[in-house]
C-alpha cells in the first residue's frame, strides 16, 4: 500500500466551522491508476491538498509509502514533496520566464543537484514525453498539450512515489485530453502510481478505479 488514510478529519475554522472531510479511509496500492471524483465543494480539493502534503489534517493518520505524514515542519514537508510526490496541475503552473528544460529541471535545483546534471536528467524526461525538440521554448511558445507534457516531465524528474494530478485535462480540448490521459496510462503501465482528481466522468472512466467523494465522505 502506497497511500493509507485512516479516519482523516479536517475542518476549516470560522464563525461556523466547516467540517470538510469526515472520517475518510482510503487505501491506494502501488501501481494503481486511481481517480478521485466529486462535485465542487465535496472536499476533493482538500483531500488532494492532504495527499500532496500541501495542507495539514486535524485527526487520523496518513501514511505515504510507509512514512507517517503528520505535523511536519515546513522544511520536512518541502523535502517529502520534493522526493515523494510529482504534481501535475490543471493550469500547468510552468514558470513563464523559464524554458521547458529549465522548468523540468527546477525540482532538482531545490535538491541541490548541479546544473549540468539537472539539465541532463531534464532532457531525458523531455525525450520520454516526446518534447526534446521543444526544450528551449518558453511556455508561451507551447500549446496546452505540450505544456502539460512538460509539466508531467517535471513531475517525473524526481522519480516520485506517486503522481498527483489535479484536473490535468481541465484546460485542454478533448483531443489533447485524450493524448494526455494516454500519457498517464503509459506511465501507469510502467509501474507508476497515479492519482487523478477530476470532476470529468470521461477522465474517470479511463482510470482503473474511481473513488467518489460526496459531502466529505468516501462513498
Amino acid at each position: 500500500m502506497i497511500i493509507s488514510l485512516k479516519d482523516i478529519n479536517k475542518s476549516y475554522p470560522g464563525a461556523v466551522p466547516l467540517h470538510v472531510l469526515k472520517d475518510v479511509n482510503l487505501s491506494i496500492d502501488k501501481g494503481e491508476l486511481v481517480s478521485i471524483m466529486g462535485a465542487s465543494g465535496s472536499g476533493k480539493s482538500t483531500l488532494l491538498n492532504i495527499l500532496g502534503i500541501l495542507d495539514n489534517y486535524d485527526s487520523g493518520e496518513y501514511y505515504l509509502d510507509g512514512v507517517l505524514i503528520k505535523d511536519l515542519s515546513e522544511n520536512k514537508a518541502a523535502d517529502l514533496r520534493n522526493y515523494m510526490i510529482g504534481f501535475v496541475f490543471q493550469s500547468f503552473n510552468l514558470i513563464n520566464y523559464k524554458n521547458a528544460l529549465e522548468n523540468v529541471a527546477l525540482p532538482l535545483f531545490y535538491r541541490g543537484v548541479s546544473r549540468r546534471q539537472r539539465n541532463k536528467l531534464a532532457m531525458e524526461q523531455l525525450e520520454r514525453m516526446g518534447m526534446a525538440d521543444r526544450a528551449t521554448h518558453l511556455p508561451s511558445e507551447l500549446s496546452g498539450g505540450q505544456k502539460q507534457r512538460v509539466a508531467i516531465a517535471r513531475a517525473l524528474i524526481t522519480k516520485p512515489s506517486i503522481i498527483l494530478a489535479d484536473e490535468p485535462t481541465g484546460a485542454l480540448d478533448s483531443k489533447t485530453s485524450k493524448e494526455v490521459m494516454q500519457v498517464f496510462r503509459d506511465l501507469n503501465a510502467d509501474g507508476m502510481t497515479i492519482v487523478i482528481v477530476t470532476h470529468d466522468p470521461g477522465v474517470g472512466e479511463q482510470t482503473n478505479r474511481i473513488i467518489r467523494i460526496v459531502d466529505g465522505r468516501i462513498v
Binding site: L54, N75, N93, Y97, L106, P107, R154
Partner: protein, 408 residues
C-alpha cells in the same frame, strides 16, 4: 548564480518603468553620498594641508593684564614675560612639554639696505618658529641652532621685503643694517600676511640693552592627546606663570594664550562631525531609494504569489525563497548603486579639476573618493539592499504551497 541572474532579469523586465524610477532613486542617493563624501574629504584635506605646515602641538603665551586684585596687588596690572620664565615653565611642566622657546620683538627698528629700508622691526626667534608661523621658505634657510649658539648676525626676510630691499638681485648673502649692526640675509620666505624680519633669539637678546623682556613664549606640547589634557596643560602654564608674576591662576586676562593644539582638536572634531553629517545626509537620501526597492520587491512578491506557491509545491524550502527575494533586492540595489558610484566619482573628479584650476585659496583639496570609501559605500549598498528585501521576503514566507492549486 545563473539562475539568480535570470530571475532578477525577469523581475526587472516585468516592471520596466517602476524599475527605472526606483533605480534612479537608488543611483541618485548613492551619487549624492559619493559627491558629498568627496567634498568633505576635500575639506579635510584642505584643513590638513593648512595645519600641516605648522606645529599643531604648540601653545603660545603672551603677557596680558591681570584683571583681579591678588595678594594685595591692584587689578589691571601689566604682566610682562621675562627670560626667567622660560626655565621655570620648562622645569615645572616637564611632563607635558618637550621644548620651550621664546620670541623677542622690536617693533621700531629700521632694516636698511643700500637701496631702501623697512620699518617692520625685527623678531628674535628660535629655529622652530618656521613651523609655528607656517613659513614657506623660498630661498636659503631659516635661523638654525648654530645661529642661536654663536649669536650670529643673520636675518630672514619675506621675499616681497627682499624685493623692496634689493630689487631683482638674489637677496641671499646681501647685507642689511639693523640698529646700526650689519646682518647677512640667509633666506627668504613666502607668507601672504606676514612681513616679519627674523634674527636669532640670542642675537636679539644681546641687542636689547640688558632688558630681559620676552615678547612671547611658545611651548611645544608632548604626550598630550585629548582636549582635556591640552586644557589642563594650559592651566598648568597659567598657574606656573601666576606664581612667577603674582596673579590669580584663574585670572584669564593675565596672559594671552593661543593653544593651537586645542584649536586643532576642535577643528578635527568639527571635521569629523561634518563627515558624520555627510554620511547621515547621504544615507537618508539613499533611504528613499531603498524604500523604493522594498516597494518593488513587495510588488514582485505579490505578482509571483502563484509562482512561489508552485515552487513551494515542488519542494522549495522557505529559506530558499527567502534567500532568492533578498538576493534579488541586493542585486537591484547594487546594480543601480554602482551606476551612482561611477557617476559620483566622475563628478568628484570634475570638482577636483575645477579646484586644482582655482589655485591655492580654495578650502578644498583633492576632493576625490578613495577605494576605502568605495568599499564602505558598497557594503552600505549590500546591507541596504538586504534590508530592503527583508520585509518582502518575510511576506513571501506567508505564501503557502496550496497557492499552486489556485487558478490564476
Amino acid at each position: 548564480m545563473f539562475d539568480l541572474a535570470s530571475e532578477i532579469m525577469a523581475t526587472l523586465r516585468n516592471n520596466k518603468l517602476r524599475t527605472a524610477l526606483t533605480g534612479f532613486a537608488v543611483s541618485w542617493g548613492i551619487f549624492l553620498l559619493i559627491v558629498l563624501l568627496s567634498v568633505s574629504r576635500g575639506l579635510v584635506n584642505g584643513m590638513e594641508s593648512m595645519f600641516g605646515q605648522r606645529d599643531t602641538e604648540t601653545v603660545s603665551i603672551r603677557g596680558g593684564y591681570a584683571q583681579k586684585a591678588y595678594k594685595g596687588l591692584k587689578e589691571n596690572r601689566r604682566v610682562q614675560l621675562r627670560d626667567g620664565d622660560i626655565a621655570v615653565l620648562e622645569s615645572q611642566n616637564a611632563n607635558v612639554l618637550s621644548e620651550v622657546i621664546a620670541q623677542i620683538s622690536n617693533d621700531t627698528a629700521k632694516v636698511t639696505s643700500s637701496k631702501d629700508y623697512l620699518t617692520d622691526g625685527y623678531r628674535g626667534v628660535y629655529p622652530s618658529e618656521v613651523r609655528n608661523s607656517g613659513l614657506d621658505m623660498t630661498k636659503g634657510r631659516f635661523i638654525n641652532q648654530n645661529d642661536i649658539n654663536q649669536r650670529r648676525r643673520v636675518v630672514v626676510v619675506n621675499e616681497e621685503s627682499a624685493k623692496t630691499l634689493f630689487g631683482d638681485k638674489d637677496p641671499v648673502g646681501q647685507l642689511v643694517k639693523i640698529s646700526d649692526l650689519s646682518f647677512t640675509v640667509v633666506g627668504t620666505y613666502k607668507q601672504e600676511w606676514r612681513r616679519d624680519v627674523y634674527i636669532p633669539y640670542s642675537t636679539a637678546r644681546a641687542m636689547s640693552g640688558g632688558s630681559d623682556k620676552v615678547n612671547n613664549i611658545t611651548v611645544k606640547l608632548s604626550g598630550v592627546k585629548t582636549l582635556e589634557e591640552s586644557e589642563n596643560a594650559e592651566k598648568g602654564f597659567r598657574s606656573t606663570l601666576g606664581r612667577q608674576h603674582t596673579f590669580a591662576e584663574d585670572d584669564n586676562g593675565s596672559l594671552w594664550i593661543w593653544n593651537r593644539f586645542s584649536d586643532y582638536l576642535t577643528t578635527s572634531t568639527a571635521m569629523g562631525a561634518i563627515g558624520m553629517a555627510v554620511w547621515i545626509i547621504g544615507l537618508l537620501t539613499m533611504l528613499s531609494g531603498i524604500v523604493g526597492v522594498s516597494n518593488i520587491m513587495f510588488v514582485s512578491v505579490r505578482e509571483r504569489t502563484h509562482e512561489i506557491g508552485v515552487r513551494r509545491a515542488i519542494g522549495a524550502k522557505p529559506r530558499s525563497i527567502l534567500r532568492q527575494i533578498i538576493l534579488e533586492s541586493v542585486a537591484i540595489t547594487t546594480l543601480f548603486g554602482y551606476v551612482g558610484i561611477v557617476l559620483g566619482m566622475l563628478v568628484s573628479e570634475g570638482i577636483g579639476m575645477l579646484v586644482a584650476a582655482g589655485g591655492e585659496r580654495s578650502p578644498l583639496k583633492d576632493p576625490t573618493v578613495d577605494i576605502a570609501i568605495a568599499i564602505q559605500v558598497t557594503v552600505v549598498l549590500i546591507i541596504a539592499g538586504a534590508f530592503a528585501g527583508l520585509f518582502p521576503a518575510m511576506k513571501s514566507l506567508k505564501i503557502k504551497p496550496v497557492e499552486a492549486l489556485r487558478d490564476e
